[in-house]
């Protein structure tokens, strides 16, 4: 790819991101997780982090165990319903993993949140979930619509 093509591609990606940002945030009332707020690639990165850092306690299917709550399914969705994704990201970032809390970067945390969304049946979109907490604060966890 030559430089000009790269620039075009980057501009196109930027326009696409802006378009999604607009659709996701322009209403002012904020966006919903079901609108497609992460990408499959991001969820893939999140899965790798999850498998290495989280699965030992929360399980491969995110079903939880005797001591750890589930991260997928009805109980999880109920306890986080209508909460901003920034709250979920904040809890992960400040308290997890329990043997080494505070070590995931904001980007890694966003990736893990993307994987959790995917595991709960939220469909992927074309823009990555932002690592920026103020942006994530405007996206609420609603009801998954599949994907």
């Amino acid at each position: 790819m030559n430089t000009a093509m790269k620039s075009v591609t980057m501009i196109a990606a930027g326009v696409a991101a802006l378009a999604v940002s607009y659709s996701a945030f322009a209403q002012g009332a904020g966006a919903a997780a079901s609108a497609g707020v992460y990408t499959d690639a991001q969820a893939g990165r999140g899965k790798a982090i999850y498998d290495a850092q989280c699965a030992a306690c929360h399980g491969g299917t995110l079903a939880g165990a005797d001591m750890s709550p589930p991260l997928a399914g009805g109980t999880f969705l109920a306890n986080w319903s209508n909460q901003p994704l920034s709250e979920l990201a904040n809890r992960i970032r400040t308290t997890m993993p329990m043997d080494n809390p505070g070590t995931l970067s904001t980007a890694q945390t966003a990736d893990v949140v993307a994987f959790i969304l995917k595991s709960n049946g939220f469909k992927a979109g074309t823009t990555e979930l932002p690592r920026n907490a103020q942006m994530m604060q405007q996206i609420k966890l609603d009801t998954p619509t599949g994907g």
């Binding site: 399980g59 491969g60 299917t61 001591m67 969705l77 979920l88 329990m98």
Partner: protein, 671 residues
């Protein structure tokens, strides 16, 4: 711990009589003027009945309850905590609780939640390495009538003894108030990294402190050569070790012969649940977990005592008097998660000193606690055999004839979701990807192009988990919450020996694929994902409370516990369908009072006015009819307790979860 004085006993002869006869009442004796009642052990008493005879809060006024005070645990650790599992204690007007991510000890004024003192032990990396972090289930109280002590186990597995009045270390106990539980353990383990800790409280009876052990959960255990979960008794005054009970017997000890390959290497078999004690019989009842491998048993072939057994040991010596194994060579992670409940029940014309053990598998095992013999017959029944290479299968399992299982067991078509014919049809298609069978059908080998393992229910977190049950000593009725959730158990040939040294491990999701293989999917179904259009695979109730009359072994009543979750009420495929209350799946326990059974909801729902929260519900203990429900801002995470102080009854429980930081919330009636 008894606080009955001669004066109060004389002043209250009827209660004094009851106190002497009913173990449940011993911990709840009135203090000055009969207007105050303590709660001095985790389960309300050493029988773990979680019962109180208080009745100021009752069916007529439950809905009037107001928040008396709150205690937020956030500052008691380097980061917030969201899953506070404590049952606090109250003695002489002071509440004692564990709190926060550091597992600090805090004394509060029980009338208003004001902090009186706090204690913290910073264990650094040792705590971060521990298998049981956070604030734990609580602490223990001891008094000889003059001195008062608070004992707890730290995250890093040290037993600490504090002066209850000041929060200062007891200089006569261990080394400056601390006994390092990783030492003097009949095995050499690394003090920083060894996989042992404890979430439960120590159990203090007479002058003995009993301490169990907990380890990392093990579907894919890192190593079968793990720490052994021996149980020890210590002198409450000095911290000196009095005894040790080898939950994995040494060569020459009773039970060793039940192991095909010896016991030298394998670990676990801890007691991570609460322990019960009958001070009159001088027996402690230890509910033991599995040896290493929660769902895979290649390194513990044989019945492997004392895995998944209740063991009665002498309180002063730790010598085994009897044991009862609830599951032989378990492969389902049905280790015993909660306190056995001691109960004196009328049976065949006499009073039997019994022990009733709720379990993940939703059998209530009722035994004579003097002998370990079943009260109702528990015959050995043949169970299906599996085909995982190197695995060992018990041909039979003990199946209680009474009481009946109090929740769904095994897997069959008629337990599948049935809101609509379409959902049922999809559930059947999903089910056909797996092996199914009756209770104790073993995990099966994952075959990418065949069946994807075995479906089970209850799942490996129960049924009933650590919160356990409650018991009414006046009516001999036991109350227990349980949940109904499907699970999958796949036996997978291990390829990652860095992760686990087991040849076969248990998984609940698609195992690692070979290079070039695409993720497997059939008809939209993926291995281990057991949701149908986002809904649970099995039909409701998802959570229920069962009242079991131990006079007869029959159910007195059974009700779904918990509002129908929002995700079901608002599901697009369920529009227009009238759905009775489904109950909620979680981990909660009941409190029984003079007239009520009280239990909070385990998950958040949205109320009619749009407020998100969870309800604290009260049921008529005789009928199960709901008598009231009080709003809480977050679900129940610790089991409720109650006490009376200067004539006012308080109801206290731990709540939190989601984005709601953990707290204790105290209710009382309006003035």
């Amino acid at each position: 711990m008894s606080r009955l004085t001669r004066r109060t006993a004389l002043a209250l002869p009827a209660l004094a009589y009851l106190w002497s006869k009913v173990p449940a009442l011993r911990a709840q004796t009135p203090t000055a003027g009969g207007k105050s009642t303590d709660w001095t052990t985790y389960g309300g008493d050493l029988a773990n009945t979680r019962y109180s005879s208080l009745d100021q809060i009752n069916a007529d006024n439950f809905n009037d309850l107001e928040v008396a005070w709150r205690f937020k645990t956030t500052p008691f650790g380097p980061r917030p905590e969201f899953n506070l599992q404590v049952t606090p204690l109250v003695a002489n007007g002071v509440m004692y609780t564990t709190a926060g991510a550091r597992r600090a000890i805090v004394a509060l004024d029980a009338t208003n939640g004001e902090v009186l003192w706090s204690f913290r032990l910073d264990e650094g990396q040792r705590a971060l390495n521990a298998p049981r972090r956070q604030s734990g289930r609580g602490l223990s109280y001891w008094t000889d009538g003059t001195q008062e002590r608070i004992l707890y186990v730290t995250i890093g597995y040290q037993l600490v003894c504090l002066d209850a009045k000041t929060g200062l270390r007891d200089p006569n106990f261990g080394e400056n108030g601390v006994v390092d539980l990783k030492k003097n353990f009949d095995q050499d383990i690394d003090l920083e990294t060894a996989d042992v800790g404890l979430h439960a409280t120590p159990c203090v009876a007479k002058d003995v402190v009993i301490v169990g052990a907990a380890h990392t959960a093990g579907n894919e255990p890192k190593t079968y050569k793990n720490v052994k979960g021996y149980v020890r008794g210590f002198d409450v005054r000095t911290g000196k070790r009095l005894w040790i009970f080898h939950t994995i017997p040494l060569k020459g000890e009773f039970g060793y012969d039940s192991w095909v390959d010896g016991t030298e290497e394998v670990g676990n078999a801890g007691v991570w649940a609460q322990i019960s004690v009958d001070e009159e019989l001088n027996l402690a009842y230890l509910p033991v977990e599995l040896p290493t491998g929660d769902a895979t048993g290649q390194h513990r072939r044989g019945d492997a005592l004392f895995g998944e057994s209740i063991v009665a040991v002498d309180l002063n010596t730790g010598v085994r008097k009897w044991h009862y194994q609830t599951v032989h060579h378990g492969l389902w992670d049905y280790d015993i998660p909660c306190a056995p409940i001691l109960c004196d029940i009328p049976h065949n014309g006499k009073i039997v000193k019994a022990i009733a053990q709720p379990t993940k598998q939703c059998f209530l095992y009722v035994l004579d606690r003097e002998t370990g013999k079943p009260v109702w017959p528990i015959p050995e029944r043949k169970v299906p055999k599996g085909s995982v290479p190197d695995e060992w299968y018990s041909p039979t399992q003990p199946i209680p004839s009474k009481p009946a299982p109090y929740d769904v067991q095994g897997f069959r078509e008629d337990i599948l979701i049935d809101y609509t014919p379409e959902l049922r049809a999809e559930a059947i298609r999903m089910m056909k990807n797996y092996k199914i069978g009756p209770m104790y059908t073993p995990p099966s080998v994952y075959e990418r192009d065949g069946t994807w393992g075995t479906l089970t229910t209850p799942n490996l977190t129960g049924g009933t988990n650590w919160p356990g049950g409650s018991y009414d000593p006046e009516t001999s009725i036991l109350y227990v919450y349980s949940k109904s959730e499907a699970d999958v158990m796949m036996s997978v040939h291990n390829t990652d020996f860095e992760k686990s040294d087991f040849e076969w491990v248990n998984m609940r999701q698609e195992p690692p694929r070979k290079p070039g293989e695409a993720p497997i999917e059939r008809d939209g179904h993926k291995p281990g994902l057991l949701r149908v259009q986002g809904l649970p695979l099995v039909k409701p109730p998802y959570g229920r409370i069962t009242a079991i009359d131990l006079k007869t072994g029959d159910f007195a009543w059974q009700v779904p516990h918990g509002e129908t979750p929002d995700a079901i009420r608002n599901h697009p495929m369920l529009k227009g369908i009238k759905i009775p209350r489904t109950g909620q799946a979680g981990k909660v326990a009941t409190l029984t009072t003079k007239t009520l059974v009280i239990c909070g909801e385990p998950i958040v729902t949205t109320t009619a006015i749009g407020a998100r929260g969870a309800m604290l519900r009260a049921y008529d203990k005789a009928t199960g009819e709901e008598k009231g429900a009080v709003f809480m801002p977050a679900p129940q995470t610790g089991s409720p307790m109650t006490y009376m102080l200067n004539g006012t009854q308080y109801l206290v429980l731990a709540i939190g979860g989601g984005s709601y930081e953990a707290e204790l919330i105290a209710f009382k009636l309006p003035v």
